[in-house]
């Protein structure tokens, strides 16, 4: 299972496997930077070919590996099957692309020290990107290599909202740290897309490119700036596109709910204070009262009243 030139390999155990049939997938890379990075040519084969390997152990399970393809290249996909029951001297393997069997890809694989290696070199251009699987007639095991351009991180489904006269920043970012040749931004107009040219329009647009992510700043927004903005990561083989929606509103839009709420507050406050005033005459000597002056007087009165009562009582006592 170990490739002589590799110092690092990654083993992954998928939770799909039952304890009885554990499939161990080992992806060996010639250049041991980890998956999906630039791979240097294998020393044993053609310098123009990169090799991707996968090891499938036992039977039953399906393994899927994603490979990022940035440039047109020749790639050798290798499937290594081990731990087959019965260990037949040879088995038949074939390749499929996107579920369709590739013509003339079937070949007989001889056993080699308990291993069965099926490999094939593919020349990948833009139209050749897809899912390549190695399959075996006698065995259920299958390994799928997904060859595709790097994907862009999902942007919000909902539009970005901004206002007339304001500016907005739209962003596109690749899921993993690949660097496209460049990024392009387009504005979509119904059916066609128009490239955004910053040099021609510097006071309205600014584009910042930072390797795997890019930011488009739209300045001096108007209502016509609303719509779909397409960001395109340009790779040698094929561009990858994604879009961000922009919605430009006028200031009156949030103003309407704001005024509604302020009116509601004023109405409620007025009602509460009126209710208090209405109840005030009924509560002369007790708690209610808004005015400091009013209630100080009432409390003084109440105090005087009490003292008055006491005084009269005392006077009554002393007088015979």
């Amino acid at each position: 299972m170990l490739h002589p030139s590799c110092t690092q390999h990654r083993t992954g155990q998928r939770p799909l496997f039952s304890m009885a049939n554990v499939i161990q997938l080992t992806l060996l890379l010639i250049c041991c930077d980890g998956m999906n990075t630039e791979t240097s040519p294998s020393p044993q084969s053609d310098p123009g070919i990169t090799t991707q390997k996968a090891v499938s152990k036992g039977q039953n399970q399906v393994i899927i590996e994603e490979l990022a393809i940035l440039t047109p290249q020749k790639i050798e996909l290798l499937c290594n099957l081990i731990d087959i029951p019965n260990n037949p001297p040879n088995i038949t393997g074939y390749w499929t692309k996107d579920g369709q069997e590739i013509e003339n890809s079937e070949e007989s694989v001889n056993r080699n020290n308990e291993q069965y290696i099926l490999k094939r070199t593919f020349s990948i251009e833009a139209r050749d990107l897809g899912n390549y699987s190695c399959n075996f007639r006698e065995n259920e095991a299958q390994v799928t290599f997904v060859l595709d351009v790097p994907a862009i991180k999902d942007t919000r489904n909902k539009p970005v909202v901004s206002y007339i006269g304001d500016s907005v920043v739209l962003e596109c970012k690749l899921k993993l740290k690949h660097t496209p040749n460049t990024w392009n931004w387009y504005k979509a107009n119904d059916t066609e897309k128009v490239l955004i040219n910053v040099t021609a329009n510097p006071q309205n647009y600014k584009i910042v490119i930072n390797g795997s992510d890019t930011k488009l700043t739209v300045l001096n927004l108007t209502e016509e700036d609303s719509g779909k903005y397409i960001c395109s990561a340009e790779f040698d083989i094929k561009p990858r596109e994604s879009y961000v929606k922009l919605k430009v509103l006028s200031y009156t839009e949030p103003l309407k709910p704001f005024i509604a709420i302020v009116v509601e507050v004023i109405v409620l406050v007025t009602l509460i204070l009126l209710w208090e005033k209405c109840n005030k005459p009924q509560q002369d000597n007790s708690s209610a009262g808004e005015n400091d002056v009013c209630s100080e007087q009432t409390s003084k009165l109440a105090g005087d009243e009490n003292n008055g009562v006491n005084n009269t009582a005392r006077q009554r006592k002393l007088q015979p």
Partner: protein, 473 residues
């Protein structure tokens, strides 16, 4: 029953009637004060991109708002002591509403720091303290329930503001949302208008050392015995509280507790994600926590009001703090998602219990009259641990690359705080009892001395009358 502090009001609080409307107003004010700074985080990403700043720079907005809200406590207390709760809350509501409206037109991040952070923070401080103070003026017998209900505003508003903010953000972007939120915050003025000042005449009583009319007159005017600077300060805010034994116990215990109080809430979702749980389930944990919290607060208020717990409410509080700390210590030991759900439920319960009692025990210790100053001084001192707690915990996580040490640390701080409170309050209760008995003895002595003096006077009067009649006769 050793509860001398609470009877210094000089009048009998209504314990109902309009008081429940006041509780509703406090519910709104407290809800906005606690929930609003936390709910703003939804806008941070967009504002961060708009101004091209880093995450820590935008996070300062929330921190400044919280810091100002706590630091503004004493200012708020001074104003409440002088003008009463209602004007202060209305002004606070206006401040925070205007702050958000101004922020929606901001052109630099510094505008946001000033508007949302400083002015908004002060506005919320002017909402928080008076709401707590006025409950003490309207309630005595049912005060724990009133406190529990009012404090329930925080989780209710947090659960409401979070989806509301998301909705506003999706439809109006951050600027429009700030404008509309400004309007929403004007409802604090409505809450303030509910806080009718309570005016009761003072019962003239020689032994009554309490302050006069609760709203219009300056605190301490009649009884300041010190001279010069101290008198002046005391007129605004009662710094003699620092000599109050109960207040000091509360302060020290709370400072210890607050170091570990908020960090577990902040880190609940990240901890869940760290365990491999997906974002939605992690967010659901917070919802469970908020839901349990929502019901735990009034529930605790009800329990604390019973005649078995009310006299020893300080013990109840310290036990809640210890319970809270134990939850954190147990958290890393609970396995998987179901373990975290159990933790969220118990944590919600403990958090709700502590929050519901937090200000009730302070009222119980210092009395409703001095509560306004007490809460102002307490919040400015608690400002430190509240703001330092989460970053220090974050540091622990970064150093050890594991959340369990942070949970242990938080749990231990809270347990320590709780134990301190329990032990010190045990002594405090005993000392208060002793002082109560002594005072009664003194009162009896004074009473009997008065009687004797009165008898002597009567005898003298009789003698004089006899002499006069003899002379005449």
């Amino acid at each position: 029953m050793p509860r001398p502090a609470s009877t210094n009001l000089g009048y009998t609080p209504p314990d109902g009637g309009w008081g429940w409307a006041v509780v509703f107003g406090s519910f709104i004010s407290i809800g906005f004060s606690y929930a609003f700074p936390k709910s703003l985080t939804i806008y941070f990403k967009e504002i961060q991109e708009y101004f091209s700043i880093s995450y820590s720079e935008i996070a300062w907005v929330s921190s400044i708002m919280l810091a100002t809200m706590y630091a503004g406590g004493p200012v708020s207390s001074v104003l409440v002591n002088r003008y009463g709760s209602r004007p202060v809350v209305i002004v606070g509501g206006l401040m925070v509403g205007v702050a958000m409206v101004t922020a929606s037109f901001g052109t630099t991040i510094v505008h946001l720091y000033l508007c949302v952070g400083v002015i908004g923070g002060f506005g919320l401080a002017f909402n928080l303290q008076p709401s707590l103070t006025i409950i003490g003026k309207y309630f005595l017998v049912k005060r724990p329930i009133a406190n529990g209900l009012a404090m329930a505003g925080s989780p209710v508003f947090l659960s409401t503001l979070a989806p509301l903010n998301q909705f506003l953000f999706d439809h109006f972007g951050w600027r429009g949302s700030f404008l509309i939120l400004g309007g929403v915050l004007f409802n604090c003025c409505m809450a303030g208008s509910l806080m009718r000042p309570i005016k009761m005449r003072k019962t003239t009583d020689e032994n009554d050392t309490g302050k006069l009319d609760v709203t219009s007159q300056r605190a301490g005017e009649d009884e300041s015995k010190q001279s010069g600077c101290a008198t002046k300060v005391n007129q605004f805010i009662d710094v003699s509280l620092f000599k109050h034994r109960g207040f000091l116990i509360y302060l020290v215990g709370n400072v210890l507790m607050f170091f570990g109080f908020f960090a577990p809430v902040v880190f609940l979702a990240p901890y869940a994600k760290h365990q491999g749980i997906d974002e939605y389930s992690a967010a659901f944990l917070l919802s469970i926590f908020a839901l349990v919290d929502m019901f735990a607060r009034p529930g605790t208020g009800l329990v604390a009001n019973t005649r078995w717990i009310r006299p020893k409410i300080q013990y109840f509080f310290s036990l809640s703090v210890i319970f809270n700390g134990l939850c954190h210590i147990m958290c890393p030991l609970l396995p998987g998602y179901s373990g975290l759900v159990v933790y969220a439920v118990f944590f919600g319960l403990a958090f709700g219990m502590v929050c519901a009692l937090l200000f009730e025990v302070l009222m119980d210790l210092v009395g409703a009259q001095r509560f306004s100053s007490a809460v102002g001084l307490a919040t400015i001192i608690e400002c430190g641990p509240v703001l330092l707690g989460p970053p220090i915990s974050g540091l622990l996580v970064d150093i050890f690359l594991d959340y369990k040490y942070m949970y242990f640390a938080c749990g231990v701080m809270m347990v320590l705080g709780g134990i301190f409170l329990y032990i010190m309050n045990y002594y405090n209760y005993r000392w208060l009892e002793k002082e109560g008995k002594q005072r009664k003895v003194e009162e009896l002595e004074i009473g009997s001395a008065k009687e004797l003096a009165a008898n002597e006077e009567n005898k003298d009067n009789e003698e004089e009358i006899r002499r006069n009649t003899q002379e005449e006769g």
